[in-house]
């Protein structure tokens, strides 16, 4: 069943209206469409026109001020990096467990795929958060392009 949950971020519309083409990280979110697929939510369409770059995505994944994915996850292909975390599952083989549409949904907001109780942050969300420090207010953890780059990288982890 295809649920028509069309989630257009309000901030995204504002950004389009006021500063088309501006870097989304400095303001609102790019609009995206959530659909139900294989029993859970997914985002089939990329957030950006520019295709994701796996090499750029790998950098975002290890950067502690960006994805900081290794804070919680282990990834064998970046074994040279120190201190892989154990809070989340290993991301080895994650591309075999989820397709790009679901990986995109998980990065954007994992609560749509896992449960409300997941400790994984939503990397592309600005609403429904509490006490966000002023310098981060209205900004997602990753830009739309960074999300696409990370998804492109994750799809290489077969």
């Amino acid at each position: 069943m295809r649920r028509p949950i069309t989630a257009y971020a309000l901030a995204g519309l504002c950004a389009l209206a006021t500063a088309a083409g501006a870097e989304t990280a400095s303001g609102g979110l790019a609009p995206f469409k959530i659909v139900a697929a294989d029993g859970t939510d997914a985002i089939p369409d990329p957030l950006t026109d520019k295709p994701g770059d796996p090499a750029a995505g790998a950098k975002v994944v290890v950067n502690r001020r960006q994805g900081n994915c290794l804070g919680c996850h282990q990834i064998s292909s970046v074994k040279s990096e120190d201190f892989h975390g154990e809070v989340g599952p290993s991301l080895d083989g994650v591309a075999g467990r989820w397709d790009a549409a679901h990986l995109r949904m998980i990065v954007v907001n994992p609560k749509h795929v896992f449960t409300e109780a997941t400790v994984m942050p939503a990397f592309y969300r600005v609403d429904g958060l509490s006490r966000v420090r002023p310098e981060f207010q209205g900004k997602p953890i990753l830009t739309a392009q960074q999300v696409e780059d990370v998804v492109a990288y994750l799809t290489t982890l077969k």
Binding site: R64, N68, L70, G71, C72, D82, F83, H84, G85, E86, V87, V119, P121, A122, L129, S130, R131, V132, R133, P134, F136, K139, I141
Partner: protein
């Protein structure tokens, strides 16, 4: 005080500490406690004292740290936190304020008068109609009996006196009371503990309840117990009071922290103490 080492010994110890902790001055990089030193924290704790405890076993943060850190804490001559204990001891009998008194003027020997006192804090204060923590209690005495200026939160003096007084309860079980008028403060603290905050959308419980014992990048997550505070943090090379540590966690999840000694952290301190009921007071503990 036979248990308190001389300042000279401390100088030597401080130099030694620098020599054995290569990352101590490099605050930009994470404290290295790599997975080869995986701590055996299980069965070092106590049985929960309340049936409502979320833990099967209540374990001090000590057992989530490396063997070296544990050894440093265990040896009073090596434990750099004793610098603050010694400073607090000096302040205890130092006359300060318009009343011409010191702490000792009313309380005499801290070793007897303060034994076990701090283990029960935060504690209900009937006069104020709210609980106070140890720092606040010290400042009530300063502005009241001593007619002296209260010490600022985070000042070396307030942290040293807090450390000194809590040290008089070392080894005694955390015994905070959360019934009666404390109930709403306990409830509020509990709500705050489970409240997700910041851009990273994490609650205290996200790490310290669900994931203690796991490796989070460069550190093993503890249960977030408060029995060792103020703690000597190796990365800061000084004593850190509990509310400052809570601020740090909130900063890390990119949230605006509550203010030290304000009601939110006071409620949280009360609730966190309850989560560690029965754990021995370790002040001054040594942590990463």
């Amino acid at each position: 005080m036979p248990s308190v080492p001389s300042p000279l010994a401390f100088a030597a110890v401080a130099i030694l500490a620098l020599a054995v902790s290569p990352h101590a001055q490099d605050t930009s990089s994470p404290r290295a406690q790599d997975t080869s030193e995986r701590p055996a924290w299980q069965e070092h704790g106590i049985k929960p004292q309340s049936p409502d405890s979320p833990f099967g076993e209540v374990v001090s943060g000590l057992y989530f740290r490396s063997k070296e850190t544990q050894a440093m804490q265990a040896d009073d001559f090596n434990n750099p936190g004793f610098l603050a204990v010694e400073q607090g001891e000096d302040l205890w009998s130092k006359v300060d304020g318009a009343a011409g008194r010191s702490c000792a003027s009313c309380h005499n020997e801290a070793a007897t008068a303060m034994k076990g006192v701090a283990a029960a804090y935060p504690k209900w204060n009937g006069k104020l109609g709210k609980p106070v923590n140890l720092e606040q209690r010290i400042n009530i005495c300063r502005s009241g009996a001593l007619k002296a200026e209260p010490w600022a939160f985070g000042s070396p003096e307030l942290t040293a006196m807090t450390t000194y007084i809590r040290n008089q309860s070392r080894g005694m079980p955390v015994a905070v009371k959360v019934d009666g008028p404390m109930t709403p403060w306990f409830d509020r603290g509990k709500a705050l503990y489970y409240q997700r905050n910041g851009q990273l959308d994490l609650a205290c419980a996200s790490c310290h309840e669900k994931n203690h014992g796991k490796y989070l990048r460069a550190d093993f997550l503890s249960q977030g117990q408060s029995n060792g505070f103020p703690v000597y943090r190796l990365r800061d090379q000084r004593l850190v009071p509990l509310h400052e540590r809570m601020e740090g966690c909130m900063q890390d999840v990119r949230a605006t922290p509550y203010k030290p000694l304000f009601d939110e952290f006071l409620a949280l301190e009360t609730y966190v103490a309850w989560r560690g009921l029965g754990l021995p007071v370790e002040t001054p503990a040594v942590r990463n």
